[in-house]
Symmetry: C2
Subunit: 497 residues, 2 copies
């Protein structure tokens, strides 16, 4: 018998009782990833990787539609290059893996395993950019980044190597860079909210939290079921902080040399972690249809007598749905019961299950089961195309609405640092909206005293989806939550992954 049936199959803890253990079990039992012996590194199994491929294909087509091209960069960066932009390098220093030997021979210069590729790529930009005609230059890389995780690790959320994409652009002026930063953030936001069905807050990072070497960083923050924030995507305006040390110049229309203005931006497989956390339940994963490797699983239910006929019915249904453009499988394995199969495909989060049995053949019907609320509907076969479309729609809007309601419920406007502490100490967590004077001093103190940092300085307070809605702006006290001095800036605080 397979190992899969020898060991306990289902999740042995509930999501709301031991969230961290629930997450680890789900990652393993849904067949997404496994740890290896080196700390913080994971192998992604085919089912997990198929989700990444769908995320990648979707975003890649959006990048290409908007004029970006892909390339390849080595994963090793000579130490000298990393040192060129001093602040940038310092920011990554403690996390960098260093290659010091090849075979038995020590290297002349240490090589860093890519924590991010700005330094390496920008060392070659002067070769690619001569005049304004070569701009904007918009390039993207689907690769991995390596950052040694010394403390706690969590598959897809915090790993020493992770799959991501890093985009890089160069522009003739700051307006071009600013536009690019926002365009990318909206591609990310659209994808995360409409495809992954996870609501986000968008805005700026504080100076302390921004990308090392950026003028400013924009971010999308999601809320996980334990009330912690998870950064889902970032887009940075690098200004001329790299073009000056790396001498990336262009001739403008007046034939004068100028430094280019740059951006960089990225998302990672952390998005897989986010959708596990946000949508999963006590039976396992729940996948949004657009990134589900299998969208519809068909289970033929038969006894020995009618086995052939039921399997045939299931296969023809599969062909029909495949022709409609869905990703469909039939689970025709004889060694498992129907109930066992239900559990397996629920664990794997397949959004729609279709059961077909003798009765369905006689009556020309099928039974459709939604993964999220496990609602069953028996429908005539003739209605299937329409019904599948409606069911996916409903499932998508329910998943998003549930996540949004949770976010609203856990977002609060707070008056004082005492309130912040007592709110976080309930153990519930959440997003805490207040004003902040803008001084790093206060930011550091708040972090020290509460464990919360500034996740985002929202573009627009009205976008924060909290219950009190329009009242929000007026509702936020006009003083810094820490020093009590008058303050203009709205900031959202949270503990975070």
């Amino acid at each position: 018998m397979s190992k899969r049936i020898n060991k306990e199959f289902g999740l042995t803890v509930k999501k709301n009782e031991d969230f961290s253990e629930w997450y680890s079990q789900l990652v393993e039992k849904a067949g997404l990833a496994d740890y290896i012996s080196a700390k913080g590194f994971i192998i992604v199994r085919p089912y997990g990787y198929a989700i990444w491929e769908l995320i990648k294909d979707y975003l890649d087509s959006k990048f290409k539609e908007t004029g970006h091209v892909n390339g390849f960069l080595p994963c090793l960066i000579p130490e000298g290059l990393l040192n060129k932009e001093e602040k940038h390098f310092k920011g990554f220093n403690p996390e960098v893996f260093w290659v010091t030997y090849s075979g038995d021979a020590p290297l002349n210069e240490r090589l860093a395993l890519r924590p991010t590729s700005e330094a390496l790529l920008y060392s070659i930009f002067p070769k690619w950019i001569a005049s304004y005609r070569d701009l904007p230059l918009k390039i993207n890389f689907w690769n991995t980044a390596l950052r040694a995780e010394i403390k706690s690790t969590k598959p897809f959320i915090r790993n020493s190597e992770f799959l991501w994409q890093e985009g890089h652009t160069a522009h003739v002026d700051n307006d071009g860079a600013k536009d690019q930063v926002i365009k990318i953030l909206s591609i990310y936001k659209d994808f995360i909210e409409k495809v992954l069905l996870i609501p986000t807050l968008s805005g700026f990072k504080s100076n302390k939290e921004k990308f090392v070497g950026a003028d400013y960083t924009t971010t999308l923050e999601g809320m996980m079921p334990d009330g912690k924030a998870l950064q889902l995507g970032t887009s940075h305006n690098l200004g001329r902080n790299f073009s000056k040390p790396f001498e990336i110049k262009f001739l403008n229309r007046n034939n004068t040399e100028e430094y280019v203005w740059q951006t960089s931006w990225g998302i990672s497989w952390r998005l897989i972690g986010a959708l596990i956390m946000v949508h999963g339940d006590d039976k396992g994963l729940i996948l949004p249809p657009i990134i589900a490797p299998i969208q519809i699983i068909i289970i033929p239910i038969y006894k020995d007598l009618n086995q052939e006929i039921v399997k045939k019915y299931a296969d023809s249904l599969k062909d029909k749905l495949t022709a409609l453009g869905y990703r469909v499988s039939v689970d025709g394995r004889d060694e498992f019961t129907a109930g066992w199969k239900y559990n397996e495909w629920e664990m794997k989060g397949v959004p729609i299950r279709i059961n077909v049995g003798q009765r369905d053949i006689e009556k020309n019907t099928v039974e459709i089961v939604r993964r999220d609320n496990r609602q069953k509907t028996i429908i005539p076969l003739t209605a299937i195309s329409k019904k599948i479309g409606i069911t996916f729609q409903a499932l998508q809007s329910d998943l998003y609405r549930n996540a949004l309601e949770f976010l609203k419920d856990r977002t609060r406007v707070l008056e004082s640092i005492e309130e912040l502490k007592s709110f976080l100490d309930t153990g519930q967590g959440g997003f805490l909206v207040s004003r902040w004077c803008g001084r790093e001093e206060c930011e550091v103190k708040i972090k020290e005293e509460t464990g919360a940092d500034i996740r985002v300085i929202p573009f627009d307070i009205k976008d924060i989806p909290i219950q009190i809605g329009e009242e929000t702006t007026r509702g936020v006290p006009k003083h810094c939550i820490y020093c009590r001095q008058e303050a203009n800036q709205i900031a959202v605080f949270a503990r975070a992954y």
Copy 2:
């Protein structure tokens, strides 16, 4: 003006005069890749990477059609794992990059940058495989491998990090593994011969040249224009050489434990190097249509007066050809002359160019130019769909036929080691067919004395495309080319990359 026009644009050497310099210039001037400061590492530019994406998409769909799935593996492998299969590790030892520090902290155990992933992946297989129901397990990874190149490096041919795919399978018996090895080799052969249009010899590697840790290795060898061999793809039967040290067992149908039988196989971006070398000419690259990022380039030819009307004609032609499924661009840049554009797109190897001007609009015609032989044909617009199809066909069969004729021309049956030396010393190189006694002793001596090694022990002598055809078998002397003892084994010798 752009740097592209400031510096000398065309190739300054001829392919048959300085092949190595021609290759380097082409890689750079066609915008395929650039070196970085660390030895042997390259950045692949968008045009080069787009070729890789097409190669990848094509093969990936073939792998998926035949039941393989993709996954992700970390690039770092703990030293202890590599040591488990002793021979395997020794084979890679001198080429391994070692990570010894993270930040300022020395690691407890050194981590190797993946030279290949057998050891890492197989350490997890016991978790995935329990019974015969879990077999065959067929998984593939699109990633990079890292092997320090100490000596000479060449973009796409010999680099310290290279893009590749590595496939791994596990089977219940050796027959399953044997079949798999051959199935993969034929997927590779079909792709290399019918898509990349490069003829190959297929067969076994000698024991000395096989993959470290394999029972045997099968290979595809191509011939480059300098007469050197280039290994284009390999597929290995690993037997139980890894399943024993890594304890990869399964329960068979009789409920008895057995070790699995395994294969691994790969191709790399070396295929890009091969098609540059085999098909390129003194004007630049020539790309086989199926993997050409741009298959058809349209050049509008106009004076100030009719600019708008010609551009419109070009754009509508582009739409028409795009709708037929071709990848088409219009080069409407005003800052370059038509002649300059011809040179640029010839350098980039676009297989078909279409010129459109005032006369074409009046007569409802277009001019089609083939990249390979630069043959021009003026055709009525109504015939374009048919003519494009025919032109691609003709170009494909000509590219393949030319490469095959070259291979035939440079393949010789030889009698003695003296003949071998004098043939190679002409500087022309080629494939040398003879018999070999099977002893490593002779193989080593031949390599020492001539620089040639055994590239392939052909599956079938009749598949070697040499002029003498059916005469071949009888033509090969029945003694070892080195020790002159009676010998059964046919071997093909060559110098190689």
